[in-house]
């Protein structure tokens, strides 16, 4: 099964940080020389509108895909999923600053806590590997990882063959691009503009239990449900820039804001936060997650000329009587809360 190429897409950082640009360019230059990979560069993945050529290109890639982005892998994966670029999560063996027990397949082998989760649906057999460019400063580390992935992919001939025969991609994509009645917000008028910064939630369906707390809490109409009542981000551009309130009320920590400064909200994985700094905000007097969510929502309501509602509307209640199964990320978040 020689000649099977893996596609590598480098998602550029926002802004013009020269260090980041250099890493992107060095990596691209190195990968062009690799016989078994096709390399492309797109603007920052999170900022792409549905009709941006970068996203159309991503959707057109049939086989295994490596995406290198300035995002947590979990965030990158679910941004892609949201945009109809689906695949099995590939396990990256990228060496972390202090090597953990891998990024150990957070969704392949769900623990008890994920047993009630919706999970991703209609996922083709191809693999998507998400590499976090913030993890290492040397492009050669990423090049070597791409080589390793490339070997891994070309070995798995059975999977690939069965997948290629089926060619489910186009039909599936069509379905995801146009889910019944609930089209992800089209890029209103911004179509020809260069990529602008965006801000919207991304749902991690490997954690989401469809509990609907987010749709209750958000008063800006960001959330909706599809034809089978699965929660989805329906009007993403209604979302208020900088406001991560729904993520704070989500009982499963399933809502990611990839650009938020708090790692847990930006999609850090349990066990892969290596090299990141500790957030001591709780220690220095940050309000509780719910208090803060309520404050953040009120600020945005007032900015819109509406009345602040405080904690009178949409605060979590559906979970009150349910037994809770927990995992390490829950522990981490609650550890923060106990410090007030």
């Amino acid at each position: 099964m020689a000649g099977k190429k893996v596609t590598v897409v480098i998602s550029q950082g926002q802004g013009k940080n020269p260090t980041k640009r250099q890493l992107e360019e060095d990596l691209a230059a190195a990968l062009i020389m690799e016989p078994d990979c096709d390399v492309s560069i797109i603007p920052h993945l999170y900022d792409l509108t549905p009709d941006h050529t970068g996203l159309l290109f991503l959707k057109s890639i049939p086989g295994d895909l490596v995406i290198a982005a300035w995002l947590f892998p979990r965030a990158a994966r679910w941004v892609l999923d949201r945009n109809g670029v689906k695949g099995q999560p590939g396990v990256s063996l990228l060496p972390a600053a202090d090597d953990e027990e891998d990024a150990a397949e957070p969704e392949d082998a769900p623990a008890d806590a994920q047993a009630r989760a919706l999970g991703a649906w209609d996922v083709p057999h191809r693999k998507i590997y998400c590499l976090d460019l913030r993890q290492q400063a040397d492009y050669r580390v990423y090049r070597d990882e791409v080589r390793r992935i490339s070997r891994e992919c070309s070995v798995q001939t059975v999977d690939l063959m069965s997948w290629i025969q089926g060619s489910p991609q186009a039909a599936q994509l069509e379905r995801y691009l146009h889910p019944q009645g609930a089209n992800p917000a089209p890029a209103a008028a911004a179509e020809e503009d260069p990529v602008r910064r965006r801000w919207y939630p991304v749902i991690d369906y490997s954690r989401c239990t469809n509990c609907m707390e987010c749709i209750d809490f958000c008063l800006f109409g960001v959330y909706g449900v599809d034809s089978v009542d699965r929660i989805l981000v329906e009007q993403q551009d209604n979302c208020k820039k900088g406001c991560p309130a729904c993520s704070r009320v989500c009982p499963e920590n399933a809502i990611i804001f990839p650009e938020h400064k708090t790692a847990a909200i930006a999609g850090a994985d349990v066990g892969t936060a290596a090299g990141l700094k500790i957030d001591l905000s709780k220690l220095f007097g940050a309000p509780s997650a719910l208090e803060q969510a309520v404050l953040e929502r009120d600020v945005e309501l007032v900015a819109d000329g509406r009345d602040a509602v405080g904690a009178t509307v949409g605060v979590p209640k559906r979970q009150a009587h349910k037994p809770v199964t927990r995992d390490a990320l829950d522990e981490l978040i609650d550890g923060l809360d106990q410090l007030s």
Partner: protein, 156 residues
């Protein structure tokens, strides 16, 4: 002057000077002079406990102008150190009068002299604060959760 207290963070001795008051978010408040009726003016800084957790401070910024009224827990700034990032919050309802301008150029005084030249801002409030024994008791009760938090985030 009341004697200083010490809180043991593992083997590290976090000193709690007896000549000032404290807030739950690990700031000290040292009385300067009486403000308007019912208000007191304080110099405010990080306790040894907070500095030990932060370690070398690289960057400090404030998100409001001097002489601004603030609510308890309102976000007022941000700090980045070798070990941590954090937002900073008002210790009580009150008024932030002025900031220590020297720290904005070079925050290293926070590490070198956190109870003296490394003060952060001047603050006016009429609310009740913690005494040194209150603060020591608070550290005692929160130490396990703090360790869990740090270990949880650092995976060690």
């Amino acid at each position: 002057m009341p004697a200083d207290l010490v809180f043991m963070m593992g083997k590290y001795e976090a000193r709690i000077p007896g000549d000032r008051l404290y807030a739950e978010n690990h700031l000290w408040l040292k009385s300067q002079d009486a403000g308007p009726a019912g208000q007191s003016r304080f110099q405010v800084g990080f306790t040894a406990y907070s500095v030990r957790l932060l370690q070398d401070v690289y960057f400090l910024s404030w998100s409001l102008d001097p002489d601004s009224p603030v609510r308890h827990k309102q976000e007022i700034g941000e700090i980045e150190s070798s070990k941590a990032v954090s937002s900073l919050y008002a210790p009580r309802d009150g008024r932030v009068l002025d900031f220590n301008a020297a720290l904005l150029q070079d925050p290293s005084a926070i590490n070198l002299d956190n109870y003296g030249t490394g003060w952060l801002f001047e603050f006016e409030t009429g609310e009740t604060l913690l005494t040194p024994p209150d603060y020591a008791a608070l550290l005692e009760s929160g130490w396990e959760a703090t360790q869990r938090l740090i270990k949880g985030q650092m995976n060690d």
